[in-house]
């Protein structure tokens, strides 16, 4: 089956005074139809840049150096090169095909417009429903995300709680039935119970509506709960990708292993908890060879000089590490 979005050799840099920040380095992978893919990694590993890059919402100082983003709405339709869309086509593409819920969905709404107006704006921009039909469609979506339509529809954003706003945003994201929904740390600013609630809503939604979900997070437990597949990013590069069970039970990349060990579980002892030593590298002046080697317990001479590429560790499980067999 053809993937919804096929990312090939995507490289994104930010031009700053000190040089080029290599935020996304030569990433290739597919987002399959209807799957939930969790993209995990530390802050500053390029996850958000990648998400914005897919929407082509990067700030002006960012440059897509190379790569391709091939999107197919369904298996039968022609592939669309997202990076080559002109302004008008891009505007039509956004939200209709790929929608995004931002890290700070709390501030994603224009504070002076009612929720209904912001739905109408979105619908109008895409020549979608209007008036009562739109209200009915919105009510349907609000019910799906467990909101009271009466309460939300005519409200101003500030009249809603953080969790409610986040769910309104998810409802708005689903308005045009996109095939891919990007969630960029959608629960970071919320309390644990509200987080749980949002995750439950998302789980329910993906069973009812069939769309692919790219879940960007540094919260491994949420990622594990929701995902079909997990991809780990380090220093702008994809270092491991595989299905959720493989990644959590037998990770092959020392960085993924480190991330998992850093999270407490209900059954484990406290002494099993370890943090990854060191800090993420400077994306302007990256270390030689494998970018993880200064922090890696398994680093060998080869790691310092040569950067490993993704290779198959098992069926559907790829890892970029010279020493994956040793883990």
């Amino acid at each position: 089956m053809t993937p919804t979005l096929s990312i090939q050799n995507l490289t994104i840099e930010y031009a700053v005074r000190r040089g080029a920040v290599q935020a996304v380095r030569n990433i290739s992978f597919d987002i399959r139809r209807g799957e939930v893919l969790s993209l995990i990694g530390e802050s500053g590993s390029g996850k958000t840049t990648f998400g914005l890059g897919v929407m082509r919402l990067l700030p002006t100082m960012a440059r897509v150096r190379q790569g391709s983003l091939l999107y197919r709405r369904d298996a039968a339709s022609d592939a669309l090169e997202v990076l080559k869309l002109n302004d008008a086509a891009l505007r039509a593409f956004r939200w209709k095909h790929v929608a995004m819920v931002f890290q700070s969905a709390l501030n994603s709404f224009n504070p002076v417009l009612r929720i209904s107006d912001q739905f109408a704006d979105t619908a109008h921009a895409h020549g979608y429903l209007r008036g009562n039909l739109l209200a009915a469609r919105a009510a349907q979506l609000f019910t799906l995300v467990r909101l009271d339509p009466e309460r939300v529809w005519r409200a101003f954003p500030h009249e809603l709680s953080g969790g409610m706003r986040q769910r309104v945003m998810i409802a708005l994201a689903l308005l045009l039935e996109p095939q891919l929904l990007i969630l960029d740390e959608p629960t970071t600013a919320l309390d644990v119970l509200t987080q749980r609630n949002i995750i439950d809503v998302l789980k329910e939604l993906r069973h009812k509506l069939n769309f692919a979900l790219l879940f960007i997070s540094h919260d491994l437990s949420l990622a594990a709960d929701l995902a079909d597949r997990v991809a780990t990013m380090y220093a702008g590069k994809l270092v491991e990708i595989g299905d959720v069970f493989t990644i959590f039970q037998s990770p092959r990349h020392p960085y993924t292993t480190g991330l998992i060990r850093a999270v407490p579980t209900l059954t484990s002892d406290r002494k099993d908890l370890t943090s990854i030593p060191g800090s993420p590298p400077d994306l302007i002046d990256l270390p030689s060879g494998c970018k993880f080697h200064p922090r890696c317990p398994l680093a060998s001479a080869r790691c310092k000089s040569e950067e490993p590429e993704l290779e198959d560790a098992a069926a559907g499980h790829q890892v970029a590490c010279w020493n994956w067999r040793a883990i």
């Binding site: 929407m55 919402l57 505007r91 039509a92 593409f93 956004r94 939200w95 209709k96 929608a99 995004m100 931002f102 700070s104 501030n107 994603s108 709404f109 224009n110 504070p111 002076v112 417009l113 009612r114 209904s116 704006d121 979105t122 921009a125 895409h126 009562n132 209200a135 009915a136 919105a138 009510a139 349907q140 609000f142 019910t143 799906l144 009271d148 339509p149 009466e150 529809w153 005519r154 101003f156 500030h158 708005l172 009812k208 509506l209």
Partner: protein, 360 residues
């Protein structure tokens, strides 16, 4: 999908809102009116006493003027006393209560200098000129400032940004009288583009007021340079404020989200960036509109424009207490009123700031 569709009544909620508001609004209104009246009384009282603390009184100044004309001191004093007919030797509190009593009846008194002309009549004569000249110039500079501020914010670090921002900062720093004098000097004396008579007064003598083309053209000719000076000196500050406001709005997540939603650039610029960025400026505009009633003392004086500002500066010079009190009172009322309107307007423009009683 099998979910039920809840009805979303648009009209019903609107009606419900209407029904809910009155009581809260009424309380708010009564409170604001009382507060405003108190402010007006306080300012009026302060003005009453403060202007009397200024060195010299109307008689002294009048006597001085007569002395300068060569009159003997005794003659000057008798003449001044008889011409002004003012009894300034009465106790201050007596004068104050008389003033308040008259004010309560809507009587602003009569000018000391222009004998027997009621102050209210003088103000009514001058007011239209100030509102016309300074008012329109203010609106033009505001609109221009908003527009240029947004352009510069969108094109930041381009040549147009550097040019306009530096120009605006310079114009903002230059006092308006300097701009006025420089322009008069350049345009009327050095290059002789504009006849000097066009920079004096509001109309040329001999042109009858009325709905004639001659009159309108003449009024506009007299207005043009004055308005130009005002716009030059004020647009910069509007522009700089709008620029910084727009730039911070552009960094807001909801603007990025609006692009993500595929909204048209026009809709984003107007409803998402422009509207939010201009919010802080609306209050300032409303307040400035209040001050329009007071005219512009400096600009009107330079152009001898018969507005409230000129009236005030003349009254100040001759210590014409009733006229000063009248002008300050009218200005105070206008500022308080526009402040009140600004509050309402802001609440309407920005739903986050609604009147206190409405919050649950």
């Amino acid at each position: 999908m099998t979910t039920t569709v809840a009805p979303l009544g648009v009209d019903r909620t609107w009606l419900a809102r209407l029904k809910r508001i009155p009581l809260d609004d009424l309380r708010y209104l009564v409170r604001s009116v009382l507060k405003s009246l108190f402010t007006i009384w306080l300012v009026t009282t302060l003005i009453f006493f403060v202007i009397r603390l200024m060195p010299g009184n109307p008689v002294d100044i009048f006597v001085q003027d007569l002395l300068l004309k060569g009159l003997a001191y005794e003659d000057a004093q008798t003449q001044a006393a008889s011409m002004l007919g003012v009894r300034l030797d009465r106790p201050l509190h007596e004068q104050y209560f008389e003033f308040l009593g008259n004010l309560a009846q809507g009587d602003l008194g009569k000018s000391y200098i222009s004998r027997n002309v009621p102050v209210s009549q003088m103000i009514v004569q001058r007011l239209p000129w100030s509102i016309f000249s300074i008012g329109t110039a203010l609106l033009i500079s505001f609109a221009l400032g908003i527009l240029l501020g947004m352009i510069v914010a969108y094109k930041r670090n381009s040549w147009i940004d550097h040019l306009l921002t530096n120009l605006a900062a310079a114009m903002d720093a230059l006092p308006s009288y300097l701009i006025a004098i420089l322009l008069i000097l350049l345009l009327c004396t050095v290059f002789k583009v504009i006849p000097v008579t066009m920079t004096r007064g509001a109309v040329s003598p001999g042109i009858p007021p009325g709905f004639s083309i001659d009159f309108f053209v003449d009024v506009l000719q007299h207005y043009a340079l004055l308005a130009f000076v005002y716009i030059l000196s004020r647009t910069g500050s509007w522009m700089l404020t709008m620029k910084s406001s727009t730039m911070s709005t552009l960094g807001e997540d909801y603007v990025t989200a609006a692009s993500a939603r595929g909204l048209s650039e026009g809709r984003i610029i107007t409803a998402y960036v422009g509207r939010n960025a201009s919010l802080p400026l609306v209050t300032r505009l409303a307040l400035s509109i209040g001050f329009v009633v007071g005219g512009s003392v400096i600009i009107e004086s330079i152009f001898v424009y018969p507005g409230i500002g000129l009236l005030l500066s003349q009254a100040l010079y001759s210590r014409d207490y009733p006229v000063m009190q009248g002008v300050f009172l009218v200005t105070t009322i206008a500022v308080v009123l526009s402040n009140f309107v600004a509050d309402l307007l802001y609440g309407w423009l920005d739903p986050r700031i609604r009147i206190a009683g409405e919050a649950k």
